[in-house]
Structure formats: structure tokens, C-alpha cells
Amino acid sequence: MRELRFEQVSVRFGSRRRGTVAVDGVDLVVPAGTVVGLVGESGSGKSTLARAAVGLAPLTGGRILLDGRPVREMSRAAGRPPLQMVFQDPYSALDPRMSIGDSIAEAIPRQPASTAAQRRAEVGRLLELVGLPADRAGVRPDELSGGQRQRVALARALAGRPEVIVADEITSALDVSIQGAVLNVVRELQRRMRLTMLFISHNLAVVRYVSDVVAVMYLGRIVEYGPAADVLGDPQHPYTRELLAAVPRAGAPLPQPPGESADADPPDPHQPPSGCRFHPRCPVGPQVVPGRDRCRDSEPSGAGHRNLAACHFAAAAGQARP
């Protein structure tokens, strides 16, 4: 497994003047053998970043590298991409007309010498790997539950022997009792095979459970990045704090927001706010704290801040933790 690196990656939909910049100059590293959890609200560009990584969305800027080599070059050289993706909707992820075995077999790289029996054995092995009995290879997706389908999708992704797996909201369409089983498979695979994985979810508890590193995305930008314990235990960016505060907690009263501003609706991605993109909603930003005009005028960068938090007022990197 190798390191996946996004360098100044941008993706724009539509024309230069009227389009939406869904991903805007993102730098992100997924170190070899780790799971990086990517969180952020819907529309923040998580899926677009993931699709760009596997070549489903065209880059308008930047590079995506695998151990220093451009991913696109590698897929051209090898005839298949070094990344695989697992999608959110288990019901649309598998071709309803194909047996699950055929779906998985299709993703196994073609080797001239491989026999049908070898492929069958490989399909069986992959099914066992995700906790499904090998003899179910002949069934069609409609005989499986959502959780089982999602595991088939995972097996299909593994079939391509990818260097990196991108998982986009793979548990959010599942029932809770099944979600646990899929998360267990992810965690287990990661431990046994040292998978490198970009794991996208809007559910912080889920991300926390599987990730070693957490990145927070807001309106096309990464606003905080660091080891899971640091980002979730000692968040530096006000948006990360907002997200953490909004996680439902049994028994706790519904938290009241610090100010009105946090209730403002997500801004229009067609016209991102000036300066810090979070400023219209920031509970410690210019709408609330007088004198923070800087937030409106200049764009904060993560450099030098703890957890690379892109906020003018985040603690400095070296500063002692409280």
C-alpha cells in the first residue's frame, strides 16, 4: 500500500464564469497503511474529491499522486487504476442483472493465464474476506440486504488489488444493526491488510471509529487535518467545533448554539464568501466578535496552526496543549 497525495487539487463544474468550484486547491495526504476520515457537510466537496481521485471527475487544477507518481499516468501504464471506490448507495452499486460473483470477477485484473476455476476461487476468497460465504457467488443483488451488498461492493473494490480504497459514505444508507457489521469489516481489513483508505462520512462517530487521521472539509477546502485524537479531542477550527457540538448525544439536552450565526444556512457554493469562507456562520467570527474584520478580508491558511486549522485565530502549532 502506498501514500495518496492530493496537491492543490481543484474541480470545477460548468464554465469558468458561471460554474461551481466544488473542490478548491485541496492539499491532503493519505499516508500509506492508514485510514484518513474526511468529514464535512453535504455539498462541501467530499464526494467530488473522491471521484476526482478515481478519475470520475476531471481535475481543473493540481495533481493526485501515488508515492510521488501521478495516478493518471499509473492507470494508463497498468491499464487499470490503482485506486478503487466504494459508493454510498448499496442498491445502485451492483448491476441488478449480474450475479454478485460476476460483478466481482469483472473487477479482477485480466491475466492471460488465469483459468475460470482460478477466477472462481479468487471470487470465493474475496467473499470470505468480507464475511460472506463463498458459495453465495451465484446470487443476484436483489437477494441480499443492503449491508451484504455493501460488502460485495467492498469485495469488488478489493478484487482490483488497489493501492488505495476510497469509501464514500458507505454506511449512511444502511440500517444501524447492519452498519456495525460493515464498519467491522472495514476495520478488520485495515488491520489485516494495512489498507490505505480515504473514508468519507458525514457521521463523526463513524469516522472516529475507523480513522487514524481526520480531515475536515468546508466549502471545497480542507480546514483542519491531523491525528483523529487531536482533531476530535482538541478541535482548533470553529467549524470542527460546530460539527462536534452538533453530534447527537443520548441524554444530553440539545445544545443551544453560541449565537444566531451558527444557524445560518450553508452559503452558496457559486459565490463563496470572501476571506474566510466560514465567516458568515462562524460563532467566533466577524458577525459575533467585533473587530475580527480580518476574517472577511483575508483568507486564513492552515500553515503554522495546530492541526493545520485554517483559521486566523487558531492556536499556533508549537503552543502547549491545554
Binding site: 464475511g131 444493526s177 456495525g180
Partner: protein, 648 residues
């Protein structure tokens, strides 16, 4: 074709329409094959003695100008007419398929040009195009086949294009592309099989249309030329004599209509059976429950607001029936927040719909008691209840987009509610709508009220829905997964909004969710549903730590929280919930329950009072571990993750 598909096509033939259509089609096709073999000589036999006779025993519909038997000629013409129509359809389908799949194969730029071309072509009426092409390709059968084929092509191209786009947008296509599979292979392996069914159906119906068009062209003399003849020609020949003996003229016309109908109806029947144009399923629930003003009167303070005893919902299923909601009993006091949790399919939403009297058509609701605001909802006229429910009960659904009319301004939809039930005048209703939008914290409510639903973000739409619910002052809000589609920050807004309305106006809340954490946070009491029944009823405070039913415990343990131990696997509930039609004997949870004993497999445990203020349906409620959720699965074993699949 998959076995399931085949059985659906056969199923189509079981309906009365299907049987009639298929029989008719079979007869037409049979005639096309057989008629020329049997009647050819008779049809061609020129008999100067019998010119232009009326119907007689020898010539049932008479003879033509050369004394030939018209019936025989009509029967013999079946082959040519049908064959030409099918050929034209085949050309149309083929050209349509090529055009329709081209955008996918050729990439975006070329695709856009082709799509534009198709758009222009479909704007012309079919027959006009056919005439145009007929002139281009020249008079004669071959020209007509091409003309009609190309005239039907744009329609098919458009259909194919739309369907290809739909299928191409699905994730398995993306997965295939990531796996490096080429475009043509994706088209053949993944796309075409998934659009074949509707295409075949449409082609069948189009064949009927081609038949008519062909008859038209031949009738005009542009199609089949003498000495060949098809129905259109026969119709033309007969028309000259229509005043002398109409039967002879009409025979060909009848044949055209019957054959066209056979194709059309067969397509229609199959389409209906495979769900291409299913009849609109029930009324949209949200439309039926516009809350308006509080119903006064009968409600006595202190008694419960909603009282339900042994509610069940039954649907016919073939000869049998299924009961996806069983023995549901619950009480709700004014201002109380009660949650219902359970997996999808456990009957949560249906139970709520039953309470609101909104169960869709073939479903039936039974209850020993069903009282809301003191009124017995089981008895009396539907109209009175609709008014009571309409004015005092608000429903909020998961997807506000489906509950709001996409073509109407949001403010107007809210205003409509009070105009309809209270007869409020336009200005007052509008003012109220804006006020309510403000109450649900829609920023710039005045301006937003003038917008269409799609101009709202998901969270705003959900708040607008709630705003519609509180246009007057309901006594109960039923919220069915109101935040499932929303982000955490937006979810929090919506939950807080519901909370504020509840406490400020003493409105009761029945909150349905699959998320135990949210329910535990929002509600005071929680009902856990499994396989259509309430299996546990407990104070929210005890849900996370002291569930007595093994299913509740498992549900809680399966969800990671912000303090779950990352080193341990999450508890997975093995197996999957039973289908409502196939409940096991005894406790429905027994096949998945770690505590199940022989008794559990024989007798269904009743929902019994437990420890004063709770109810549990489990024979071994005392055995349930006082939460050790992490340990409920075989910790550490990778196979534990797989148990959901292996037993299913």
C-alpha cells in the same frame, strides 16, 4: 432474461387486459404466417362474374372490382402489413438505439450535438416526418418502410437516451469505469440489459403505431404498390365503393385497428405489470393532512391525547394477507415526546400512518381503540375525521421535497392550508405563512416565501414543512425520520425547532427514527419496534444503558458513539429481520437472539409491564445484560463481522 423478469412478463398475461391483448396478438401473428398459405389462391382468383358483389355466403364481405373475395384478401394482406410494420419498427428501434446511445459512447461534446438533433426531430409530428421521408425515399414499400422507420427513430432515440442517462448515473457503471472496462463493453454488459425491458415494451406499442402509419401511407398511394397489397391499399380500393357496400370497405379498416390494438394493448399490459406506468399509488399523505385550526370541544384535559390499543395494519398479498403492524398499543399525553425506533421495515412509518388514517389504498387498519383528542377515529364519517386530523395533527416526512409541490411558491402552499380550512382571505393567509416561516427560522422569510421549493436547501425545506405543520396550532406532530437526510448541524436546527414548538405550545411529538442516539436525546419515552410489534417501551434515559429486550440492547450496541472503544468490534446483529409475510413461530427475534431458548421459539412473548413504568416483550427480560454492548458479539473474531450475511 432473469427468472424474476420472466415471471413478471408472464404475470402480465394473467390480468384480463393482458390475456385479451396477448390472444389477439397471437391471432394476428398466426394469421400473418398462415393466411397466405391457405387463402392466397382464393384471394387472387379473378372472377368477372362476381364483380362488386355485396356480402353473400360465398363472399362474406363481398368482392372487389375484379370479383376477388375481399375477406380472403384482407386475411392474406395480414402478412405484408404486419411484416412491413415490424420492419419499420425494427429500423426505428435500431436507429433510435444508435442515436440514443451515441452520447454515452462519443463523449460529451458530440453527445450534446446528437441530443440537440434528437430534440429537434422529436418536435415534429410522426406522420409529418413519415411523409417527408416517404417523399425522399420514393414511393413504394421499401421507401415507406424506411420512411416510417426513420420517423419513429427520434422518439426511440429520446427514450433510449433518457434511460441510458439514468442507468449510466448509477454507481455500478462508475464502478465498472473505475475497473477500466471500456465504453462499448459497459454499454453491452451493464446498460442495455437494464433498459431492455422498457424498450421492448415501447417497441411493441410502436409496432401498433407503425401499422397505422403504414396503412395511412398505402392508402395515400405512397406505400405498397399494385399488384402487392396491404391493408392500407385494400382500404383505399374499398373506399371507392363505400356507398355501395360498406362492409367491403370497412373490412381492411377493422383489420388495421384490431391488429394495431393487439400490439398496443400487449405493450400496455406488460408495461403495467413490470411497473413502467403503475397507477398512481395512493394519495400523497402530506396533502391530506394540512393542519389548520385546533378542533375544540371533546378533548378533556388530563386524559391522554392519543390512545391506541392493539392497532394492526393488514395488506392483501395474493390470496393471503400480511400484517406488517401488529398489536401496537401506545398512549401519548399532551406535550409529551415519544420516540419510535427500529430498523427499516419494522413498521414504524406504517404505524404512524395508521394513526393519521393515511394508510394507502389496499391496506386495512384494525384497532381495539384509536382515540385522538377524545374522538374515536374508527367510527363516524371520514370527512369529520379528516377535519379533526387536518386541523390538529401535523405530519413531517423524511423527504420534504416529495411533500411540497415543486411548481408552487412555498408561501402559497402554506397559505393554501388556512385558506382551505378556515376560509381565510388571501392577504391574511399570506401574512400567516410568512409569520410561520419566520417562526421556523427561515431567514428573509418575506422573500423566501415567494420562492419555489427547489430554491430552498434541504434543511430549509424541512423547516418549511414544519412551518406548514404549525400554520395553526396542532396538538400532535408526527415526525417520520425528519432529519435522516440532513447534516448534523442542520439536524440540530430542526430538532431544536421541534423542541421549541413542543415546549412553547404544548404540542405532543411522535418522533420516528432509526437513530437511537437522536431519539434518546429528543424524547422522553421510547418505543422499540421489531417485525411490526412494539417489543420494548422504556424511558429514554434508560435506553442506552438499561434496555431489557435483547434487540434493543443490540441496536444500541451496534451504533458507534463518540466514546466507543475503537479497539473492539461493534456488536453486529446476526441475520436480518423477518419479512412480514414470513414470521417465525414464537418470538420474531428468536432466530437472531443470543438468549433464545426453546420456549422463545414456540411462544410469542406478550408486551408485559416490567418494573412499573416500562413494558417488554421478552421471556428472558431479566437475563439481558445490563449493557455490555461491546461484548455482545464474539469480540476479536473477524468472522463476527460476517454473521449478518451467513445466516441470511
Amino acid at each position: 432474461m432473469a427468472p424474476a423478469t420472466r415471471s413478471r412478463w408472464i404475470g402480465a398475461l394473467r390480468s384480463p387486459l393482458g390475456v385479451t391483448a396477448a390472444t389477439l396478438l397471437l391471432v394476428v401473428l398466426l394469421l400473418a404466417v398462415v393466411a397466405p398459405l391457405v387463402w392466397q389462391s382464393r384471394a387472387d382468383a379473378v372472377s368477372p362474374a362476381d364483380i362488386l358483389q355485396g356480402s353473400s355466403a360465398r363472399h362474406p364481405v363481398g368482392t372487389d372490382l375484379l370479383g376477388r373475395d375481399i375477406l380472403a384478401r384482407v386475411l392474406v394482406a395480414t402478412r405484408l402489413s404486419v411484416a412491413l410494420a415490424l420492419a419499420a419498427t425494427a429500423i426505428g428501434v435500431l436507429a433510435g438505439l444508435l442515436l440514443g446511445t451515441a452520447p454515452m459512447l462519443l463523449g460529451r461534446r458530440a453527445g450534446r450535438w446528437i441530443a440537440a438533433l434528437i430534440n429537434v426531430a422529436v418536435a415534429f409530428p410522426n406522420l409529418l416526418l413519415a411523409l417527408f421521408f416517404a417523399v425522399i425515399f420514393g414511393v413504394g414499400a421499401k421507401g415507406a418502410v424506411l420512411a416510417i422507420g426513420f420517423a419513429t427513430a427520434p422518439g426511440f432515440a429520446r427514450l433510449t437516451q433518457t434511460m441510458v442517462a439514468t442507468v449510466a448515473g448509477r454507481d455500478f457503471i462508475a464502478a465498472a469505469r473505475i475497473a477500466g472496462i471500456g465504453r462499448i463493453r459497459i454499454l453491452v454488459r451493464h446498460v442495455l440489459p437494464n433498459i431492455a425491458e422498457p424498450l421492448v415494451v415501447t417497441a411493441t406499442m410502436a409496432a401498433g403505431g407503425s401499422l397505422l402509419s403504414f396503412a395511412g401511407l398505402s392508402f395515400l398511394g405512397l406505400g405498397v404498390q399494385a399488384p402487392s397489397y396491404d391493408w392500407g391499399r385494400l382500404l383505399g380500393e374499398g373506399l371507392a365503393q363505400i356507398y355501395i357496400h360498406p362492409a367491403g370497405a370497412l373490412a381492411a379498416g377493422v383489420a388495421v385497428v384490431v391488429a394495431a390494438m393487439a400490439f398496443n394493448l400487449t405493450g400496455e399490459a406488460v408495461a403495467r405489470a413490470i411497473g413502467l406506468r403503475s397507477p398512481q399509488a395512493g394519495a400523497r399523505p402530506a396533502d391530506d393532512a394540512p393542519p389548520v385550526a385546533r378542533a375544540g370541544g371533546t378533548y378533556q384535559a388530563g386524559s391522554s391525547l392519543l390512545s391506541v390499543r392493539n392497532l394492526s395494519v393488514t395488506f392483501p398479498a395474493g390470496a393471503d394477507e400480511v400484517t406488517p403492524v401488529r398489536e401496537v398499543s401506545l398512549e401519548l399525553r399532551r406535550g409529551e415526546a415519544v420516540g419510535i425506533v427500529g430498523e427499516s421495515g419494522s413498521g414504524k412509518s406504517l404505524a404512524a400512518l395508521a394513526i393519521a388514517q393515511l394508510v394507502p389504498a389496499p391496506g386495512r387498519v384494525h384497532a381495539e381503540r384509536l382515540e385522538f383528542l377524545g374522538a374515536d377515529l374508527r367510527a363516524g364519517s371520514g370527512k369529520a375525521h379528516r377535519r379533526l386530523l387536518g386541523t390538529s395533527l401535523a405530519m413531517v416526512f423524511q423527504d420534504p421535497m416529495t411533500s411540497l409541490n415543486p411548481t408552487q411558491r412555498v408561501g402559497r402552499q402554506l397559505a393554501e392550508v388556512v385558506r382551505q380550512h378556515e376560509g381565510a382571505d388571501r392577504t391574511r393567509a399570506w401574512a400567516r405563512a410568512v409569520d410561520r416561516l419566520r417562526a421556523v427560522r427561515i431567514p428573509a422569510a418575506e422573500r423566501r416565501a415567494r420562492q419555489l421549493p427547489h430554491e430552498f436547501s434541504g434543511g430549509m425545506r424541512q423547516r418549511a414543512m414544519i412551518g406548514m405543520g404549525v400554520m395553526a396550532s396542532p396538538a400532535l406532530i408526527i415526525a417520520d425520520e425528519p432529519t435522516t437526510a440532513l447534516d448534523v448541524t442542520v439536524q440540530r436546527q430542526v430538532l431544536r425547532l421541534l423542541e421549541n414548538i413542543r415546549t412553547a405550545e404544548d404540542v405532543a411529538l411522535l418522533f420516528i427514527s432509526h437513530d437511537v442516539t437522536v431519539v434518546a436525546q429528543v424524547c422522553e419515552r421510547v418505543l422499540v419496534m421489531y417485525a411490526g410489534r412494539i417489543v420494548e417501551d422504556l424511558p429514554a434515559g434508560e435506553l442506552m444503558h438499561d434496555a431489557r429486550h435483547p434487540y434493543t440492547g443490540a441496536l444500541v450496541a451496534a451504533v458507534p458513539g463518540m466514546d466507543t472503544d475503537r479497539e473492539l468490534p461493534l456488536a453486529a446483529v446476526p441475520g436480518r429481520p423477518p419479512e412480514p409475510g414470513r414470521l417465525p413461530a414464537g418470538c420474531a427475534f428468536a432466530p437472531r437472539c443470543p438468549l433464545a431458548t426453546a420456549r422463545c421459539r414456540e411462544q410469542d412473548p406478550p408486551l408485559a409491564t416490567y418494573g412499573g413504568d416500562r413494558r417488554v416483550a421478552c421471556w428472558h427480560a431479566d437475563l439481558a445484560p445490563t449493557v455490555a454492548p461491546q461484548q455482545t458479539s464474539a469480540a476479536g473474531q473477524p468472522a463476527a463481522a460476517g454473521t449478518e450475511g451467513s445466516t441470511a
